[in-house]
């Protein structure tokens, strides 16, 4: 009987030998059975992990030949067109990787495409976590680590882009230096320190190289490991559904089901990146030519993840610059180059704590929110995405202008207005859509779904037959809290305090009042599901009953 499930004797022997010493069987079994929820959006973070692994492996390959030196040399190599051209060792060795090292060109392109995919997958992963509220207690620390990984990944990309010392590299470093110089008082010192003297000097590439291959990847690796250990310990969030609760995870066990999926997925990610690298030319440094401080070109951008900073620099007006005691304070560089990115990343890091403070929700959450059930959060997220997207587009304004034959100035004027109006419109539209979806959810929960079958009643009236939704759908819809407004009590206590002199402890002082107001704003429009039970709606009096509910909801 048991022979069918037992491993071969030799394997058992080895297994027992190991288990006698490390006692792995127990922890191993527990971890191998760990359950992973089955939803595509939980795979987004894995794309980032896999592309990071690809970056590490290809990066090691590239370091074998890359020479991070700004020493002057005259190129003599396989690339005929640039023979006899003076350049730095860094550029010459990159040409060598491209044209003399077997497979070098492909690996360099894999490294670059993987970097683009890596940061893109970080962004979509982060958006998923944000919009489903997966950053809430107990996962705030992992959110902070994620924000750290995102920030470092951008820097890592910028420094890597600067290493080959080709034309766009040098221009990128020049912009970096310009932003540093805009720092009041310390700007010049910071720049002189980083460059070891005046721009470009002889030191910047060896220094960026150290940061790019040692320091930042080291920190990134540590953060990614921490991210995973915390995830492993806390487990995934999961979407609401049948059998899923704050305490019970439903999904595929790690082994064999999920391991096979994840392994296969790695190869798919790798295949897509290699296919792009094989067929689509990226960052053709041999065409750009080496950087010299006199050279400058239009139509070059940073890689996409720096695009929003480029855009904010491009559209920010220059009429706010001023001088103090003869020292220039270039607001037109300082604000778009440092303050705006600082606000974006600072806002990302602060949001979980801000939301917790506003809502007063200190409970642990393992079931993810459906974005529509947290309309203000979703709307804030959309506003952020629109703001980022506008800046990102503005970073390509010259390409947009030339490609679509639009006047360059008009793109700037448009983006200036859109950077302010766009997020506001995005906020309103997203919130209204969420509330509409909430109403539809209540409708579906009460009445079932529209079957498409039209029936004529004896009275002659036509109705559409509603059918009961599946158990799964009912469970998903019921996941919304009956009333998740936190306005009435808090606001009332604030108002009472003004008349009676008795203050609710939570609403004391300016901060308390502000909190109460924010909490009201955060939840006031939520559609109440109070008293709604599945499939209890009156189909025939559909219209009248519905409007009553609508009234009640509106009066809050």
């Amino acid at each position: 009987m048991s022979t069918t499930t037992q491993a071969p004797k030799a394997l058992r022997g080895v297994g027992n030998w190991i288990d006698d010493r490390f006692h792995l069987a127990k922890t191993g079994e527990k971890n191998l059975r760990k359950v992973f929820p089955n939803h595509w959006s939980f795979m987004l973070g894995e794309i980032a992990l896999y592309s990071f692994i690809i970056l590490l492996v290809t990066g090691v390959f590239l370091t074998l030949w890359f020479n991070p030196s700004m020493a002057h040399t005259t190129y003599e190599g396989s690339y005929q067109r640039l023979n006899g051209v003076e350049m730095s060792e860094a550029y010459a060795s990159t040409l060598r990787i491209d044209f003399d090292v077997r497979g070098g060109f492909l690996v360099r392109q894999i490294h670059h495409w993987a970097a683009l995919i890596f940061v893109a997958s970080l962004v979509v992963h982060m958006l998923r976590v944000f919009f489903t509220g997966a950053f809430r207690k107990p996962r705030e620390i992992n959110w902070l680590i994620g924000v750290g990984i995102f920030t470092l990944a951008m820097l890592e990309g910028l420094f890597g882009y600067s290493l080959p010392d080709d034309l766009p590299s040098g221009m990128g470093v020049r912009i970096l230096q310009g932003v540093m110089l805009s720092l009041p008082v310390i700007g010049t010192y910071v720049s002189m320190f980083l460059f070891g003297g005046e721009f470009p000097g002889e030191d910047i590439i060896p220094r960026l190289y150290m940061l790019h291959i040692l320091l930042i990847p080291g920190i990134l690796l540590a953060l990614i490991v921490a991210h995973f250990m915390i995830l492993w310990h806390q487990k995934h969030t999961q979407y609401p559904g049948t059998g899923r609760s704050e305490k019970k995870v439903v999904g595929t066990p790690m082994f064999p089901g999920f391991a096979i999926k994840a392994g296969g997925f790695f190869f798919f990610v790798f295949a897509v990146i290699v296919a792009l690298s094989a067929f689509v030319q990226i960052n053709p440094i041999h065409l750009f030519g080496p950087f010299t401080p006199t050279a400058i070109t239009s139509g070059l951008q940073p890689d996409w993840y720096m695009g929003f900073m480029e855009g904010s620099l491009r559209i920010f007006p220059n009429w706010l610059d001023f001088q103090i005691f003869g020292y220039a304070v270039p607001i037109g560089v300082l604000v778009p180059g440092l303050v705006i990115p600082g606000l974006i990343f600072g806002g990302l890091a602060a949001w979980p704590f801000l939301e917790q403070w506003i809502t007063g929700d200190k409970r642990a959450h393992n079931v993810a929110d459906r974005p529509r059930n947290a309309p203000v959060r979703t709307a804030v997220g959309v506003a952020g995405v629109v703001f980022y997207g506008i800046l990102w587009l503005a970073g390509a304004n010259d390409i947009l202008s030339h490609t679509f034959s639009i006047s360059l100035y008009w793109t700037t004027y448009f983006f200036r207005v859109a950077a302010i109006a766009g997020p506001i419109i995005g906020f309103i539209v997203a919130k209204r859509i969420c509330l509409g979806l909430q109403r539809r959810d209540r409708e579906t929960l009460e009445h079932g779904y529209e079957s498409g079958t039209i029936q004529q009643l004896p009275s002659g009236e036509f109705i559409e037959v509603h059918k009961e939704s599946s158990q799964e759908t009912v469970h998903v819809l019921e996941s919304k809290a009956a009333v998740d407004r936190i306005d009435d009590e808090a606001i009332a206590s604030v108002e009472e305090s003004e008349s009676d002199g008795v203050e609710a402890p939570a609403a004391r002082g300016l901060k308390g009042k502000l909190r109460a107001k924010l909490a009201h704003w955060y939840t006031k429009d939520n559609v109440s599901f109070e008293g709604v039970e599945a499939h209890t709606g009156h189909h025939l009096h559909h219209g009248a009953g519905h409007e009553e509910h609508e009234e009640m909801a509106g009066s809050h």
């Binding site: 595509w40 794309i47 683009l116 798919f268 689509v280 400058i296 390409i399 008009w410």
Partner: protein
């Protein structure tokens, strides 16, 4: 109708409708919108006279005058002194005339707007006649003349009576072209000149770029070496003039050779070069192709049967 009724609630029906609507609007717009080509065609039809077959060696000043009076004088004036909507071109030189007319920018269909490059309104022989008339009657030797050394337009089959004559002309043109391009040997000089003086408008690849005030720097990859040379000599539009003193003829040759060699360079990195637009196109592809494919795969491997509702 039954076919549609059976499928209109299919999960993909919505996408199909959107795609169809996009296709209808796209194709419809393309049909209705006035295209630059058609506007040009009208100009050309108006300008075409019974063109003489090519092969004549002598210059026909009378035909040049004819073209001038019919297509240039209405704006630039009979004596080339200009008017309210066109500049005085008496001092522009034959090089400017050749550049403007052989790149199709003149005659202009809208004197207030920057003209894009298009098919010239006249064939090579007629343009030569026009230049000859200009040099004799209007410019009278002022301004730079047409540079003869850099090769101009490639021979066009329709200008020749038979295949052999065309082949012969093409062969000698190619020879002259290669001699001119390969005659420059100092890549470094050409690269430095181009990247310091040209690339900040025309971009590193020669693809052009946006300029201030609604202008743009045109793509220069279609230009012949002679047109590039003439542009430097005469500074059309927003472009500054690079005289023979500031950039010597040898340096101009290096520069032109750099542009043309870079343009002819194969794309070592893959068959898709994204028009050498650079990072914007790369980022676009990373999101729309790379990440989209990967996410589609994630959706596929985690898919399960949906409850029907």
């Amino acid at each position: 109708m039954k076919w549609i009724t059976a499928r209109r609630r299919h999960p993909l029906a919505g996408y199909v409708v959107v795609l169809l609507a996009l296709a209808v609007f796209g194709v419809g717009y393309a049909l209705v919108a006035p295209s630059a080509d058609r506007a040009e065609a009208q100009v050309m039809a108006a300008a075409q006279t019974g063109a003489e077959p090519a092969g004549g060696e002598t210059v026909d000043i009378a035909q040049g005058r004819d073209i001038w009076e019919r297509s240039c004088a209405s704006c630039h004036g009979l004596n080339g002194a200009g008017s309210d909507n066109a500049p005085d071109i008496t001092g522009a030189g034959g090089a400017a005339v050749d550049f403007q007319v052989s790149t199709g920018r003149m005659p202009s269909s809208n004197p207030d707007a920057q003209m894009p490059r298009k098919e010239p309104a006249w064939d090579r022989e007629e343009i030569d006649n026009l230049i000859a008339y200009y040099e004799q009657e209007i410019g009278q030797g002022a301004g730079p003349a047409v540079p003869e050394e850099p090769p101009g337009d490639e021979p066009v089959r329709s200008d020749y009576e038979d295949e052999d004559a065309y082949e012969e002309a093409k062969a000698s043109y190619d020879e002259a072209y290669d001699a001119y391009i390969n005659g420059a040997s100092d890549t470094q000089a050409g690269m430095q000149l181009y990247l310091a003086n040209c690339a900040h408008c025309h971009s590193w690849s020669g693809a052009g770029g946006g300029l201030t005030g609604g202008h743009w720097a045109p793509q220069i990859t279609d230009a012949t070496p002679r047109q590039l040379y003439e542009a430097m000599l005469t500074g059309p539009g927003q472009m500054p003039v690079f005289t023979e003193g500031t950039v010597t003829p040898d340096d101009k040759q290096e520069l032109i050779s750099y542009v043309k060699t870079l343009q002819a360079e194969p794309n070592a990195g893959g068959i898709f070069d994204l028009n050498r637009v650079g990072q914007v196109a790369e980022g676009f592809i990373a999101w729309t192709v790379g990440l989209t494919l990967i996410i589609a795969c994630a959706i596929w491997i985690t898919a399960k049967q949906r409850a029907h509702d």
